[in-house]
Symmetry: C2
Subunit: 213 residues, 2 copies
C-alpha cells in the first residue's frame, strides 16, 4: 500500500556530530552517572551549544541508551571469545588479560557500566537479565565441563566469573584509589603489568587441581 518509507539519508555532518556527542557523553556520564550528567556539560565537551546538541538527540535518555547499547556488546566480547575447545588454563588466562586490557584502554566504558550498576541498572536491566545472563550461563557450563573433566579445580563457575570481573574492572573503576595507594613510584603505567602478573598468579594457583600441583 504505502511506498517504502524513504530511508532518511544520514548526512556526513549528522554522523560526525553524533559521534562527537556520544564521545562527550561517554566522558560525562562515566564520571557523574545519568542524573549527575548535564546536557550543558556534554554540549560543552562536544564543542556545541546545548540546543544544537538537542537537535541531534532530542532527549538526554536517547544519548544514554545509544551509549549503553554499544557498550554491552564490546563489554562482553572478551567473555564471548572464551573457547570451549581451547585449553582451560590458557583460555581463562587470556580472558583475564583481555579484560584487564579493557580496563586499561577503556576506563570510561568501565565506569559508565559501573555507574549504571550502582544505580540498580534501571535502563539496562533487561539486557542484563537476558543477553548478559545467557552468555554467562553458557560460559558457566563450559567451565563446569572443564571441571568435570578434571582439568580445573571444582568451584563455583558463576562466582569465578564475578571475581574476574571484579578484580579487572577494579583497575578502571577505582583507578584513583589504586594510583593513590601505589604512589608515584609503582602507580605509573607499570601498575597494569603488576596487576596482570598478580591476577594470573591468584587465579592460576587457585584453579590448579591438586593432581597437577
Amino acid at each position: 500500500m504505502h511506498p517504502p518509507a524513504k530511508p532518511r539519508p544520514i548526512t556526513r555532518i549528522q554522523r560526525e556530530k553524533q559521534d562527537l556527542i556520544l564521545e562527550a557523553a561517554l566522558e560525562v556520564f562515566s564520571l557523574h552517572g545519568f542524573r549527575g550528567a548535564t546536557i550543558d556539560q556534554i554540549a560543552e565537551v562536544a564543542g556545541m551549544s546545548k540546543p544544537n546538541l538537542l537537535y541531534y538527540f532530542p532527549r538526554k535518555e536517547e544519548i544514554h541508551r545509544r551509549l549503553m547499547g554499544e557498550l554491552l556488546v564490546t563489554w562482553l566480547a572478551p567473555l564471548r571469545e572464551m573457547d570451549e575447545n581451547g585449553d582451560p588454563f590458557s583460555e581463562i588466562r587470556s580472558y583475564i588479560r583481555r579484560k584487564l586490557e579493557m580496563a586499561r584502554d577503556f576506563p570510561r566504558e568501565s565506569r559508565l557500566f559501573a555507574n549504571e550498576m550502582l544505580q540498580g541498572a534501571p535502563r539496562i536491566i533487561e539486557m542484563i537479565e537476558v543477553d548478559l545472563k545467557n552468555l554467562v550461563d553458557e560460559k558457566a557450563k563450559v567451565l563446569l565441563t572443564w571441571m568435570d573433566q578434571g582439568k580445573l579445580t571444582r568451584t563455583d563457575p558463576y562466582h569465578l566469573i564475578f571475581s574476574i570481573w571484579a578484580t579487572t574492572q577494579h583497575y578502571a573503576d577505582f583507578d584513583v584509589q589504586v594510583r593513590a595507594v601505589l604512589g608515584p613510584g609503582r602507580g605509573g603505567e607499570g601498575r597494569f603489568e603488576d596487576a596482570a602478573r598478580y591476577l594470573e598468579q591468584l587465579f592460576m594457583f587457585g584453579l590448579t587441581p591438586k593432581t597437577r600441583a
Copy 2:
C-alpha cells in the same frame, strides 16, 4: 583571653533530625552520586521539607562530607583489625569474611564509596592519599613479613589487598547484576554464603605455599 567558646548545646531534636537526614542522604547519594542526588529527594526520604533540611545542613556538600568522614572510618575497620601476630591464613580469611559481611550488611555505604571513586574521589582524595594509603602501607608490610617468613606465597601485597576489596565489594556494588545472573534460585540470600565459600577457596589456594600443598 577569650572565655572558652560556649559549646553550643546540641538539642535532642537537632541530633535526631541530623540522623534522619544523614540516613536519607546515604540512601540517595549511594544511588545517584553527589551531583545526581537532589536535596529535594533527600528531604522527601527524610520526611521533611527541603528548606527545613537546609536549616540543619546549610549546604548539600556538608551532608556529603559528614557522610564520607564517618564512612571511611568504618570502611577501613576490617583491614585495621588484621593482626600482625595472628596466623596469616586465618587473619586473611577473616578479613575477607568481615569485608564480605560489610558488603552484605552495608551495601549503601559500599555504593557511596564506589560512587565517589568513580568520580575521581574529588571530595575525599586527601583522606585516600593519607589515611587509607598509610593503613595499606602498614598492612602491606605485615603481609610482606609473612611472605618473608615463608608463611605465605610470595606475591604483590598491594594487589592482593586490591583484589580482596574488589571481589568483596562487588557483591554490594554490582548486586543487581549478581542477582540477575544467578537467577531467582541461587540469587537469594544464599549468594553470600556461596561467595564466601568461593572466595575462601580462591584466595587460600592461591596463597598456600607449595611446601604446604
